[in-house]
Symmetry: C2
Subunit: 253 residues, 2 copies
């Protein structure tokens, strides 16, 4: 699954990415969350280049996320995004070939953020190997709680991701983005499940990819329900059920 | 949950519906699937009234579903919908007060269709009461298979429903539509689960509403994954896992 590594490798199917490797680390290498204020090109073109391309791309992606989250995918025009970023259209075209290329990077960016939030933290006790299925269940429940906390902190981001999937599915040219998004979700889930099994001294009774699909489906489903009714109590119960469901697919090694 | 009954009662929060009860059965009382070709109003206004209001509403809803499914919610303008239905704008405004009112009815219509497809059929053997948990699991697996078959037969409809939820969540005025849609999903799932428990002589170990939320989340999640990659094999495995997960929340009475 090396081709699905989030930050350092090419995005599946995005040949334009491979053609411009110097930009492939743009977003994740930029820690700043402050908007970068660009100047209008008219008469001041020389200043455009003062902002490194990577920073400009990063600022545009974060602006795009705010626009998509606040107003929806359909309203996230190039013009709206550059206005949000305080940049000129010329600066946009210096950084991205098209709005769709920006949307690709936006999906990368948010999936990477989710990965950081949800994946189990490296643990110094990993090699000690706790050994019962309850422990596997608890590790899963903790991971699901981290996901739910991440979702609660920024509901608009989760809504934006669901909209982006629908947007990509709408067009034959962009369908591969949704495919790549879910391949990445499934790969991340498989990674988390492998870690959970290792830490609890468990094995999966089915190929981990199959278990991963269940985990991703559960999180997608609980996200939609929560976005609709914001019922935290029902969601907590659902997280319990989800942990039980996934843990039932493993056993002590 | 009487206020959530699909065809014969008012839709929660839709006071405009209650004000016009003679139209509240329009869609479901019209079995025809053929488009109704209306005439242009100009100079032929007398012909407009020849199509009963209920038929006109039904034709517009089915046209709206085709437009949303083919082109997306954003493209489903009143103009596009009347063009698809072969009607005039005047005819539209005779049938609906606004595009949003039409969207309300569209959600009603598709949820009702799903109910018909997914709910267990009335069974003459129901009172005989099979008595083991395997039977509960099989009933659930069969219901999930019916849902998956329904989804495979018309993927665009499922995509349209997910888009409509996102569309409703996008606007404070329409949010209640998404809430009503999911209340209805949860009520239908609870109904199906009650039936499954009764037929298998089982009881649920948790309030049926909680189990229903798990079932709806699982079907939402598996639908998104399938819409993205159309992986029927992975979906079949997921249906097995989903049936196991839900059945684990019941036991023989």
């Amino acid at each position: 699954m090396d081709s699905l590594r989030p930050f350092h490798g090419p995005w599946p199917g995005m040949s334009m990415w491979r053609a411009r490797p110097r930009r492939s680390c743009a977003i994740m290498c930029t820690g700043s969350t402050a908007p970068l204020f660009d100047v209008n090109d008219a008469g001041q073109g020389d200043q455009v280049t003062r902002i490194p391309a990577a920073d400009r791309r990063s600022a545009l992606v974060r602006a795009a996320l705010r626009v998509v989250a606040d107003r929806g995918v359909a309203q996230a025009t190039t013009r709206a995004i550059v206005a949000e970023a305080g940049m000129s259209l010329a600066s946009f075209h210096y950084a991205f070939q098209s709005r769709d290329e920006l949307m690709v990077e936006l999906i990368r960016y948010v999936v990477a953020e989710e990965a950081t939030a949800v994946l189990p933290e490296p643990s110094s006790t990993e090699s000690q190997g706790q050994d019962d299925i309850q422990s596997l269940r608890q590790i899963l429940r903790d991971g699901l709680q981290r996901y739910a906390d991440h979702m609660s902190r920024d509901p608009l981001r989760e809504k934006a991701m669901l909209e982006l999937t629908q947007y990509a599915l709408r067009s034959p040219e962009l369908r591969h983005l949704a495919v790549a998004q879910y391949e990445r979700y499934h790969a991340l889930a498989a990674e988390a499940l492998d870690t959970a099994a290792r830490r609890s001294g468990s094995v999966w009774l089915h190929p981990v990819g199959e278990v991963a699909r269940l985990l991703v489906s559960l999180t997608d489903g609980l996200t939609i329900a929560w976005l609709v009714d914001r019922n935290d109590t029902a969601t907590a119960t659902l997280l319990d059920f989800a942990a039980d469901s996934v843990a039932a697919l493993g056993r002590p090694a």
